[in-house]
Symmetry: C2
Subunit: 219 residues, 2 copies
């Protein structure tokens, strides 16, 4: 969408298109700089529009724009979890991870800023947006496992693994994207089966899942 | 220290004692309420002193007091990791976890507020304090493992496990401290060996550790 910067005068955008264009410009700025280092002037410049126009769309200023961009990123992240309920479970998990890691790779520093909090525009509202994505990820996994009423041990295991994946993503970005993304993905899948197996030793519900679903990977 | 509230007039405290008393009062308030719900008046009342006195010690007001309380909590957390380099590794890990989980148990909502960020007084400085504790935890584990130069896979594994422990603590508080703390501790130790074993399949350094150190637990 950066082509828009050179052709702002040649196209009239609809309200929705303009809004999407501004969010897109904001997201790509947040992708490379922490939110507190991005000004509305930067967004206006990146989108090839005037500062007042940005304010017309986001009268709440930077905080509103940041939240809208975060919501749009969260939406994109949720799409990573859209995986048909077909075939063996672990390849499904691997495909979702591929999409998720591609998102991390693309958004880079913006992903870090998004998750790490501590930015000047961080509020409980933005935290809630990020937490919503985590919850959605957990629900997706449980639905793929075919579990309607997960017990506390299973729930905790899934949420711990999701947090560990998040931590791995941040460290991966920090370490110049090493190991290669395919290896990271396989490693994360292996960790999932390993922690599920540990919980299976303490929880009959998880034990049944490990038996039925996870062991079907070669079937 | 809540006894201090009823006897403020009867003791002259030294500067250091007074400071410690105020931090203690602040910490116990933050332990049960989010920082944004604690006022300097609350701290003054809990410590049995006047608001101006709180300001004399913390002229930066709530932000300064919050950071000082956070630093004091971080210091306390670091002490949890002080474990002699004697005996088999896994019991050492279990003992450090016992102390850490006792801290989580005691500080409760304050621990959640401390880690989750998103509070109105959250800044990159407070995030750095919490990150410092995480780094210290990772260094302790690597030193107990006897590793001077951890490769990226081993480092990532240890940091992921620490993040997963953090997530488990938050969920545990959220779920009325279920499962019982002893079970949670054993489960976390089992997860540590499980993820180390997974990484061992991909990383010779970790494989050697699993062979030498972790398998020595029955020796």
């Amino acid at each position: 969408m950066s082509a828009a910067a050179s052709t702002p005068a040649y196209r009239r955008l609809s309200v929705e298109e303009r809004r999407a264009q501004l969010l897109d410009a904001a997201l790509s700025l947040f992708a490379h700089r922490a939110p507190e280092e991005v000004s509305l002037d930067d967004v206006a410049e990146a989108a090839g529009v005037s500062r007042p126009l940005v304010y017309r769309y986001f009268p709440g200023g930077k905080q509103q724009l940041y939240e809208a961009a975060l919501r749009s990123a969260a939406e994109e992240l949720r799409h990573c979890f859209d995986e048909p309920h077909d075939g063996p479970l672990l390849p499904r998990l691997a495909r979702a991870l591929d999409r998720y890691l591609a998102f991390v790779d693309e958004h880079d520093a913006g992903f870090t800023a998004l998750l790490q909090g501590g930015s000047v525009v961080e509020t409980s509202r933005t935290t809630a947006i990020v937490d919503g994505v985590r919850r959605a990820a957990a629900e997706h996994i449980l639905s793929h496992l075919g579990v309607r009423e997960p017990g506390p041990r299973l729930r905790m295991t899934v949420r711990m693994w999701i947090t560990a994946v998040e931590a791995a993503s941040l460290i991966w970005l920090d370490e110049d994207k090493q190991p290669p993304v395919g290896e990271l993905r396989d490693w994360l899948v292996e960790q999932f089966t390993a922690v599920m197996a540990v919980t299976a030793g303490r929880d009959p519900q998880t034990a049944a899942l490990v038996e039925q679903v996870l062991s079907a990977r070669d079937g």
